[in-house]
């Protein structure tokens, strides 16, 4: 194995972040509008991504919803899929922006982009998947999107963005002070940038394909 030490630490830190994010979901689920609930896990995933890079965040975006699915959630695979997509859309832009420019300003812009991406993705995916699973006619879903799903995702994303901004600096400082991490310490993933862009492209293609299919009423 290349760089065995860092490689093991990458795994254990992934596990620690996964457990933290999972705990935050279990303890801090705050009901907001009707059935939609605010979850703070994106904050922890974003901070993890800021420290360890986009692939770290991407892995967590899949792992944490998986834990939710096998322990606390009762929506099964459907909830899992929506959860993964929401997390990836919100977490990736700030993490990539911060990785590239390492500035507070880029992080803020990234977070705003993240909120926008989250909202757009959730609008599209709800439009495609909600009729499939819940059997509403599409026209009803269309009426529901703007008054319910749009503001909910904006509020959720906004709250998460604000708390990420408040929290990331003290946490990163605490990490550096406790000597567990030196800068540029854990570069275990080769071709990180390429894999990140592959994920983004895959997500966009998937969305477009599903939209086209639903437009032609195949699904």
């Amino acid at each position: 194995m290349r760089e065995n030490r860092n490689y093991i630490r990458y795994i254990t830190f992934l596990a620690a972040f996964g457990a933290l994010a999972y705990l935050s979901v279990v303890f801090l689920k705050i009901p907001m509008i009707a059935f939609l609930r605010y979850e703070p896990k994106d904050i922890i995933l974003t901070i993890g991504g800021i420290i360890f890079g986009p692939i770290f965040a991407l892995i967590l975006c899949v792992v944490v919803p998986f834990f939710e699915m096998i322990t606390v959630s009762s929506t099964g695979v459907i909830g899992f899929v929506m959860n993964v997509i929401a997390a990836v859309c919100f977490v990736l832009p700030p993490v990539v922006a911060y990785k590239k420019w390492k500035r507070l300003r880029s992080l803020v812009i990234g977070l705003v982009l993240g909120i926008v991406a989250l909202t757009i993705a959730m609008l599209l995916w709800n439009y495609v998947l909600t009729p499939l699973f819940f059997g509403y006619p599409r026209s009803t879903v269309l009426k529901m999107l703007v008054p319910i799903i749009l503001p909910f995702n904006l509020i959720k994303g906004g709250l998460n963005a604000v708390f990420t901004l408040i929290l990331y600096k003290p946490i990163v400082n605490a990490l550096l002070k406790s000597n567990t991490l030196n800068k540029n310490d854990l570069n275990v993933i080769p071709n990180e940038q390429r894999w990140t862009s592959y994920t983004v492209i895959l997500l966009i293609i998937l969305t477009i394909v599903l939209l086209v299919l639903s437009y032609f009423k195949v699904v």
């Binding site: 933290l20 705050i30 059935f35 096998i70 099964g76 006619p137 708390f163 946490i171 406790s178």
Partner: protein, 265 residues
């Protein structure tokens, strides 16, 4: 201690469903959500309902736990059902007021959607009630194994999943300790509005982060000291075995699919 290890909703037991292979249970619960969309008339729904009831009975877990699984989603379900009932047109019209119409198709569709929700929730709840999270992580490892062909790091992912699952109870203890320490300093948890609650979380989160980092670091050093060299060729503590009853369950699901295709409108 043992009690905290069983976090999530797992209920220990010795029933037929408990003894099934976790790989089988995971795949079959996915498969079930797939075939539930085959149902489109009352006989197919009845068939699925009986099948699910049988599965629940075989798990020998009280019905109450399953109904508790439905409860957090009850608003979603009610909302969906009402939308269905009032906005679907067709058939006999019983009552109407402006754009809201209570029609025969609407009522029937509402009942179907309600059934679909409850069945999906029952099946996912059955999976989480009868399978400990660690076994499910093992099952994921086994299911992902073919991906090794494309050099997907299956062993590492599985190791990470089980470490994370083991971290959860430890971090829960840690959280409790830190919460008490901060309470002694005068922080109010769980009071006030959303923003106040989140602000109270900050003095909890930072020590929690630091302590979990230290734990991760310690564990990495311990693993290194014991010569961890990746998962290739490692022996296992929990070994999954496929029994006859698993084959039987797969056959039952195939039969169910056949019946559904035969009965559907």
């Amino acid at each position: 201690m043992m009690n905290k290890l069983l976090f999530g909703r797992f209920i220990p037991g010795e029933s037929f469903v408990h003894h099934l292979d976790p790989r089988n249970k995971l795949l079959m619960s996915f498969y079930y959500i797939g075939i539930i969309f085959l149902a489109n008339n009352w006989s197919t729904y009845l068939c699925l309902f009986l099948f699910t009831l049988l599965a629940v009975y075989l798990s020998s877990i009280k019905m109450g736990f399953f109904i508790r699984g439905v409860r957090p989603l009850i608003w979603l379900i009610l909302f969906t059902v009402l939308l269905q009932v009032f906005f679907t047109r067709g058939g006999k019209v019983f009552w109407s007021w402006g754009p809201i119409v209570l029609s025969q198709y609407g009522l029937v569709n509402g009942v179907y959607i309600f059934m679909r929700f409850v069945l999906i929730i029952f099946m996912s709840t059955l999976l989480t009630l009868t399978t400990p999270p660690l076994s499910l992580a093992d099952a994921i490892e086994a299911i992902l194994k073919p991906l090794r062909v494309v050099r997907f790091p299956v062993y590492e992912v599985a190791l990470m999943l089980s470490i994370a699952l083991r971290f959860v109870p430890t971090l829960m203890d840690e959280t409790e300790k830190i919460m008490n320490a901060q309470r002694a300093r005068g922080v109010d948890f769980g009071e006030g509005n959303l923003f106040q609650q989140m602000r109270a979380v900050v003095p909890l989160l930072i020590p929690l982060f630091v302590s979990s980092f230290n734990r991760a670091e310690d564990l990495a050093i311990a693993m290194e000291a014991r010569g961890y060299q990746g998962g290739e060729g490692r022996s296992k503590y929990r070994i999954l075995t496929w029994h006859y009853r698993d084959t039987f369950v797969v056959l039952a699901f195939i039969a169910l699919t056949g019946i559904l295709i035969w009965l559907r409108a």
